[in-house]
């Protein structure tokens, strides 16, 4: 009874999550086991066919593509974002809040619009090619659009604030006396960074990686606009299956596959941060 009263405040949010997250999730899992008729309507007939189909090598390739994109996005955002977070945390308070503001500000602008910005920049007759040709560095416009790398740039660009904020929180909480101790004991700047700072910020890195990995797996408009459909990713495939293919059971099976991938990453994350009290997720 006492426990119930203590947790009473959590009940509304649990109901909220149960209704808006739990039910749709269960619905997706249920649909993934159903079949459809010729018109694309869902028929209440149990089948494992959808799961058999997603194990087709052609479709497995899509899982690999998506995993590669999400993993590389995590890696790129980490390599670019870590220094940003590290430098930002060492700025004086006034400049620090300015920098944090500048990192968060792009979120206020439609992500679709920012993706179009990359189209304008990278297109064959886009800004970058025009500048390069005006400088005489290239004779012909470089083909930068509609490649895997273009999608990677766009996705990493969209998600890098998550990584920076996660790492920043972790670097900011770092006990400065540990750094002093490291210097006192004769460690160089590099040694201090590799042996003290980096291991202590692993929870932040893992948190940022998870926060970046999960949306990167599902974003589909970036690969539509920048990748031109050259490489098929899970998000695009599910989108096409629902809207054009009218095959919702198969789309649901793919979604379940995607959820499994996310669960894998989150479980690695929780293993990495098991000993830490602070956690971003879970």
């Amino acid at each position: 009874m006492k426990a119930l009263r203590q947790n009473a405040l959590a009940i509304p949010i649990l109901i909220w999550f149960g209704l808006l997250v739990g039910i749709p999730l269960v619905y997706v899992v249920v649909v993934s086991f159903l079949s459809r008729d010729d018109l694309g309507n869902i028929v209440w007939q149990f089948t494992l066919d959808n799961y058999r189909r997603i194990l087709d090598p052609v479709y497995l390739r899509v899982f690999v593509n998506s995993f590669m994109l999400a993993f590389l996005t995590g890696l790129v955002t980490l390599l670019i974002g870590y220094p940003v977070a590290y430098i930002t945390s060492k700025l004086d308070p006034k400049r620090r809040s300015l920098a944090i503001g500048l990192i968060i500000l792009p979120f206020w602008i439609s992500s679709l619009l920012r993706t179009y910005g990359w189209v304008i920049l990278l297109g064959n007759w886009g800004i970058i090619n025009n500048v390069l040709m005006a400088l005489g560095l290239v004779d012909q416009p470089l083909q930068m659009m509609y490649r895997f790398g273009t999608t990677l740039v766009g996705t990493a660009y969209m998600l890098i604030p998550f990584m920076i904020i996660a790492v920043y929180n972790s670097v900011d909480k770092l006990d400065k006396s540990l750094l002093e101790a490291s210097y006192d004991l004769g460690a160089s700047k590099r040694q201090t960074f590799l042996r003290v700072v980096l291991p202590l910020t692993i929870p932040g890195i893992a948190g940022g990686f998870t926060l970046v990995f999960m949306p990167a797996l599902g974003l589909y408009f970036i690969s539509d606009l920048l990748g031109g459909g050259q490489t098929v990713f899970l998000g695009n495939l599910i989108h096409t299956l629902v809207n054009r293919g009218r095959n919702r059971p198969l789309a649901a099976a793919f979604s379940v596959g995607m959820i499994v991938m996310v669960i894998l990453v989150v479980s690695i994350y929780s293993r990495l941060t098991k000993n830490q009290k602070e956690g971003l997720l879970l």
Binding site: Y27, L102, L121, I160
Partner: protein, 80 residues
């Protein structure tokens, strides 16, 4: 300012330039006389004139702002 500090400032500055480059290029191309983003044919305010001259065209903006206000992302599709 030490040497290391200067490099850090440069890194941060370059990062912010790249972060805002796509947004700035969208703003720049909103003044492009050509309807395509592939060609630059001079400056114009035509698009802004068009944006403000028709009441009907305000509708999307109104929908967007009310969606923003109420977060009304209710499902639009029947379940099956």
């Amino acid at each position: 300012m030490t040497k290391a500090n200067r490099w850090q400032t440069i890194y941060l500055a370059v990062f912010f330039v790249i972060l805002y480059l796509p947004v700035l290029s969208v703003i720049l191309y909103s003044f492009n006389a050509n309807p395509s983003t592939a060609k630059w044919t001079g400056l114009t305010l035509d698009w802004y004139r068009e944006l403000f001259d028709d009441l009907k065209k305000h509708q999307p903006a109104r929908y967007s702002s009310s969606a923003f206000k109420w977060q009304s992302s209710l499902p639009r599709f029947p379940l099956c």
